[in-house]
Amino acid sequence: MSITDTTPRVPLLDLRDLTVEFATRAGPVQAVRRVSLQMMKGETVGIVGESGSGKSVTSYAVMRILDRAGRIAEGSIVFSGMPLQAAPETAMRDLRGREISMIFQNPRAALNPIRTVGRQIEDVMLRHGQATRQTARARAVEMLEQVRIVRAAERYHAYPFELSGGMCQRIVIALALACRPQLLIADEPTTGLDVTTQKTVMELVTELTRVRGMSTLLITHDLGLAAAYCDRVVVMQRGQVVEDAASGTIFRAPAHPYTRRLLRATPRPGAGLRDLLPEGAPAGEPVQAPPPDAPPLLEVTRLVKAYPRPLTASWWKRGAAEPPVRAVDGISFAIRRGESVGLVGESGCGKSTTSTMLMRLIDRTEGSIRFDGQEIGDIPPRAFTRSPLRARIQMVFQDPSDSLNPRYTAERAIADPILRLGGRAARAGLRARCEELAGLVGLPVELLGRLPHQLSGGQKARVGIARAIALNPDLVILDEPTAALDVSVQAVVLNLLQDLKARLGMSYLFVSHDLHVVRLLCDRVIVMRSGRIVEQGLTAEVMQHPRHDYTRELLAAAPEPP
């Protein structure tokens, strides 16, 4: 997008040598170091980086909402000719919301839960004198219409908890755009959303900002997303800008080695699992498909999980009992020995309910779960804890931080299944086994004594994997094991999982919302929607010739770089 006016081009936002320091006990730490960045009016710029790169801190510095420990140590921030780095708080308050707006990652947390969404939009407009008491309501409804909320006049009265995540994010966008700001800062606006919702939200943001001639600063960890929706991409690493180029250029010819590494680690069409690792990394064992005649390990037949409907209406108003909600609605599939199967679907499709049922953490309502020829669906979850089968089905959890007891060292966490289920012989060689497992998952042995908060995200993921494979299980359920990780760490962890499978002969059920990640690891995929399986088949076939519309929609929703 080029602006063709004759006036000299003054950037709307001009950061020069911006340095942000945080006071910590170990002395000041520079989270952002000498960052310079210019944004023209009407331009969409993406700041891309992994966690800790300082991308969010940069945007907080522009909004001047750094927390107390942080301060702008050096450099200048000029917004349409106005220096912001030392502007008084009162001036900033007028600026925020009216000239510069922000969208946050978690839309639900950004909305006041006890105020209707319409009133929240009114509040912003009234605060900045953009509407009067008389016109506010009409303006708020108009804003809701602009962010394509269906039946806007009705939704004006809705509370945030009555709306879906995607709708909440649209409300947040309406809030941010209500006062017609010149600059919109979007901090990971779609990270918690499904891919199809991500697409609609991003298209909405780019369209609204283009129509209004606004500038947008998109902060994201996803290079693909930034490249698809931004004119220019700025790559940050450890508080510094390492590359700043047009998004087309950055994809075709990345200049900085870090950008190249990031680009390489991002799952993309045509790249295999090994292609994600940095060049020159030792190649693992070759990826091989399981023999097609392998016996089935897990057979699921017409599995159903139904929850009774919540009692919303009062008892005298309620008519005939409504049918229960069927979170999982009669699904059947099988996993063969040594096979990896992907279970894909968006939030609320029943994939997590399915995996929790297979793990025997909750009861099924109907149907059968046969594991290695035995019916395990009949064993109640509490009894299953003591069953010898417990050791043979294990799980790797979504959030590596949440799934480790904060007071257990890495070694204690890995040892837990051995202590509980391993028997006396295994307990005797505990320390040796823990070290062996640490070696298998590539966790340095000297880190075994550390507590979770002293480990990085990737290291925590390795501890979680080591714990899951400690008892040589036959089936491991991977519940979005890389969703909380940076892409470069995700690449390494996915490769690790592949190597472990080849060495230990396990089967995987990989539960994920992302077809492009599942594709890398799985021989077959199952696509779920509203509790039912809409498509299943060999990965390559489903990816190349999807038969169901929903699968096609999922595939098309992934951001495509220019």
Binding site: A69, M102, L361, R382, R390, N405
Partner: protein
């Protein structure tokens, strides 16, 4: 608009951290030196502890020995806090009373910590009827004015120090049970608890090894905050004539005895034990705030 703001996770060039114990100690030192109020609270706490342990050996006079010739003497060099109506040295009595008041407070808090904490954790973790029973017990206790309830319990069980301890513990039960219940409920669905189920831990083992250790720090803050209240409660019961009996030195009784002399101008009889009481409560409340900073992971950087 509010921003969930985080300091970058990995500080560039941060040194690898030493062991946990050393880290905890450094953190405690940081909190104390970083916040002078907490430092004062810790200093007061050690002073109280010193009085409680060494008080009876260090005081200049026998706290029970009366000396009617010197009754109601104003503070002087010989009697810094003055003497009471029987000529007993108030300084000695105030110092010696520390042990009794602290013992009652600590014993009752330990008791309620164990009972209330365990009941609350079980209620939060198991839910269902356990939750209902514990919840209704707590509600019943909360339905009474707490001090009146404590009076009633001591009056019914008998006028002894043990019963003051029991009464104070019962009165504080809902606080602990509710806190523990809320914390356990949050952690019940945490990933690490699910993981523990998968590794073959039974429900009780999960409760004791996974949930309880993780809520202990939060409970510890509550301990400090209720300590002050427990001291006040014990002194209050003695003040109205329940529990400890004269001539035992105890802050509540001393204030009660001194109250009648205030009108006639002998202010020191009630003032100094009252001041001791105030400082003790003050100290524990400040200590609670300091402890919260120590255990709060947000402040750990």
């Amino acid at each position: 608009m509010s921003a969930a703001q985080t300091i970058p996770e990995t500080a560039p060039g941060a040194a690898p951290r030493p062991r946990e114990a050393a880290t905890a100690w450094r953190h405690a030192r940081h909190v104390i030196t970083g916040n002078p109020v907490t430092a004062v609270a810790f200093a007061l706490f050690f002073l109280l502890l010193l009085c409680a342990v060494l008080g009876p050996f260090a005081v200049p006079y026998n706290p029970l020995a009366s000396d009617t010739a010197n009754a109601l003497q104003a503070p002087s060099w010989a009697h810094p806090f003055g003497t009471d109506q029987l000529g007993r040295d108030i300084l000695s009595r105030v110092v010696v009373a520390t042990r009794l008041d602290m013992t009652v407070a600590i014993a009752s808090v330990v008791l309620v910590f164990a009972l209330g904490g365990l009941a609350g954790v079980a209620a939060g973790y198991f839910g269902g009827w356990t939750d209902r029973v514990v919840g209704r017990i707590a509600d019943t206790i909360m339905a009474f004015p707490l001090f009146v309830l404590a009076m009633g319990i001591v009056a019914a069980l008998g006028n002894t120090v043990t019963n003051i301890v029991i009464a104070t513990a019962i009165v504080n039960f809902p606080l602990y049970a509710r806190l523990a219940r809320a914390e356990a409920r949050v952690r019940r669905e945490a990933g690490f608890v699910q993981a523990a189920r998968l590794t073959g831990n039974g429900e009780w083992r999960i409760l004791l090894t996974q949930i309880l250790p993780n809520i202990l720090p939060i409970m510890a803050v509550q301990v400090s905050l209720t300590m002050g209240y427990a001291i006040l409660n014990a002194a209050g019961l003695s003040f109205i004539g329940l529990g400890v009996r004269p001539p035992t030195p105890e802050w509540g009784i001393m204030v009660a005895e001194g109250a009648s002399f205030i009108v006639s101008g002998e202010w020191w009889v009630a003032l100094f034990p009252g001041l001791a009481l105030m400082l003790a409560v003050f100290c524990f409340n400040l200590l609670g705030d300091g402890l919260r900073d120590i255990v709060d992971p947000q402040r750990r950087g």
